[in-house]
Amino acid sequence: MKRRSIVKYAAVAAALSLGLTACSGSGSDDAKESGTVRVTLANHVWTEGIKAAIPEFEQSSGLKVELTQLGEDQLSDQYNVKLNAGSDEIDVMMYRPLQEGKAFAKNGYLADLTEKVSSDSGWDWKDYQEGPVKATTVDDKVVGVPIITEREVLYYRKDLLQAAGLEVPKTMEELEAAAKAIKASSPDTAGFVARTGKSAAVTQFSSFLYSFGGDFTDSSGKSAVNSSEAKEAYAYYGGLIRNYGPANVSTDMSWPEAMAIFTQGKAAFYTEADSLYKNATDPAKSKVADTVGFAALPAGPAGSKPYNIPSWGLAVNEASGNQENAWKFIQWATSKERTLAAQKAGVPGPRASVWADPEGTSTYPKDLADAIAVSAENGVGHDRPEVVTVGKAREIVGEPIVASITGADTAAAADAAHEAFQKFLDGEKK
């Protein structure tokens, strides 16, 4: 009796474990056979549009889409864990070419798409703007297709400027004077607000850096964050926030916090990525939706040089056994029609033909479309140091921004950052 029951338990246990194995996710081969594409996307307006259109893709291609949608940081962590483990559970991945592109390509996470992009003339890879293409190309191999581009523009409050009798600033000097005038006339309203977090502010600070004539590295790839131009830019950006920014300004602000201050009507000027403009013009999210104006980034000593970059792209997981279907999804999601639809929904795209088409900018506020056109012409192709470990580099070059905001010795902070950044660059070369 005893023996028999043990055998019985063993059989049940075996059956259970078999059942569990059967439940534990389908491998890539299964996915290929059943025609499923597993797509991981970030929370973004672009994703919302794609999500709504997926049934259309499923119908035309006969494939089934399994969608995972995550916040930016969670997405990054997810890739770090899954791609590190060589998982084939992701076929298509939405990634940030300038933040993770180099590291992912170096680690062999991204499939080579060079042949695929050039083989389809109808889809037309040549239609893509040069800057975004450069950012998704690593060592002459195309590893991603850009989907969203952005440039830094000046958001401002028309009503406040009008009340103070001010013109829209065209230069950095005028911007400072206007911010000062507004802060002086109504102490409750900040003259200027922008990101302040050590790492988060780097991308928005970069346009100021270029407009003052500086860059993170010089032409030989050495650190240039302590050049006199860079020191001026650090002092200017931090000074604007310290002197004319909100009272009790936090040094942790990324775009949601800075945007909240602007959309709550507590600031007159705000420099931010144009791709986020809907947050300011949507009455459901913004108290100042009716009075927001847009302008190109004011010119510094070296002119107006905002960044013009692809913030997101789509790539195929190298470990996926389902790369053909993954490419089909990308081809559809980045087609001219889909790009136009996304752009009309407020997501600036990377296709030249869509920008040339009047319909492509039909839904944009006119001043924003003008500002984007100007920025696309004189933009710089990166908004952060172009290195492998971008996270660490941002923290290093962001240190002087925070020093400047808090009123510490900015020049000394820039010298210290220069030393650390050079050491970091030397370490990456090894």
Binding site: K2, R3, R4, I6, V7, A10, D73, S76, D77, N80, L83, N84, A85, G86, A103, K106, N107, G108, Y109, T196, G197, K198, S199, P246, A247, N248, V249, S250, T251, D252, S254, E257, A260, I261, Q264, K266, V388, T389, G391, K392, E395, G398, V402, T406
Partner: protein, 317 residues
């Protein structure tokens, strides 16, 4: 006759045959019963505890970075040397971990004891009060972090508006370099004091009334009764509460990450060891270095818990 013969000979034949496969397994499993039944637990511990620990230990001795599948070199204790001589991030993080844990623990135990004493004696509406006090405990730490982040926002937050009503100037709270750690400690105390209350209350209810009554008869006042009777009797329970809460507080990650993000703020003002190790592996992809930090952190936790357990033994004696 022949039928009977056949019936008789059948068992005899089967006894002579080698046992079937089922019988074999059955006999084997019966002999190794104790191992078989303990196996699931042992496999569980092995796969989920021992393996990650050994793997982390191994990684900490290599220069693994970028991708864990990339070629790595064995570099001995180099990572530990780097970490232990790092006065920029590591030692300040150790300091913050200790401050956070120490201050939060003291507040939680003192407050917890106070509340537990209040709830000890039955009163009207006792049930409701107990439920209300336990509410913070059931909230998700990340949600708690987000909630307090909104309340403590220096510009549009409720806390500063409240202070404004009574004429106190706005405070930087989470965004201040010097006030951020204190604010996160406050959040931890808010969330975890109820757990301490729960443990202490369980201890209090199991105390017998006689010593207290005897002291009362002898004319001891409330303070004397608490400090000389209740507290010494409660000491083992208090140490259990400190032990449980201490381990948790040392490992705190969620509320710190939810309020200040990677690196614990622009000045690393709330960067504890856990947040530091997370940044090293998920932001910098330096797995070797990160593993070394984690192993050291593990040793710190084991060390402090060992000290406390020793203390508990001394008290129990």
């Amino acid at each position: 006759m022949s039928v009977t013969n056949a019936a008789r000979s059948a068992p005899a034949r089967s006894a002579g045959r080698p046992p079937s496969l089922g019988g074999n397994i059955s006999a084997w499993s019966n002999r190794h019963r104790k191992w078989l039944f303990a196996a699931p637990a042992m496999i569980f511990v092995g796969v989920l505890i021992v393996f990650p620990l050994v793997w982390t230990l191994y990684l900490s001795l290599t220069d693994s970075q970028g991708s864990v599948r990339a070629a790595t070199e064995f570099i001995g204790f180099q990572n530990y040397l780097t970490v232990l001589t790092d006065t920029d991030r590591f030692w300040p993080a150790v300091g913050r971990t200790m401050t956070f844990t120490g201050v939060a623990l003291v507040c939680e135990v003192v407050l917890g004891m106070g509340i537990a004493l209040l709830l000890w004696r039955p009163f009207r509406g006792e049930k409701w009060v107990r439920v209300a006090i336990l509410l913070p405990l059931v909230a998700t730490p990340v949600a708690v972090g987000m909630m307090w982040r909104l309340i403590f926002d220096p510009n549009i937050g409720f806390a500063n508006q409240l202070l404004g009503m009574i004429g106190i100037p706005p405070q930087p709270w989470l965004s201040g370099q010097d006030t951020a750690l204190g604010t996160t400690i406050f959040m931890d105390v808010w969330q975890w004091t109820p757990m301490v209350v729960l443990i202490l209350l369980a201890g209090l209810t199991s105390l017998s009334d006689e010593p207290d009554e005897a002291a009362r008869v002898d004319g001891a006042n409330a303070f004397q009764r608490f400090f000389y009777i209740t507290l010494p009797l409660m000491m083992p329970t208090v140490i259990v509460a400190i032990l449980l809460r201490g381990i948790d507080a040392l490992k705190t990650f969620d509320i710190l990450y939810a309020t200040k993000g990677k690196g614990g703020g622009s000045f690393n003002e709330v960067e504890t060891l856990n947040v530091y190790a997370y940044g090293l592996s998920f932001d910098y992809n330096q797995y070797g270095l990160s593993s070394a930090v984690l192993i050291l952190f593990f040793m710190i936790i084991i060390g402090s818990m060992w000290l406390l357990t020793m203390r508990k033994k001394a008290v129990s004696k």
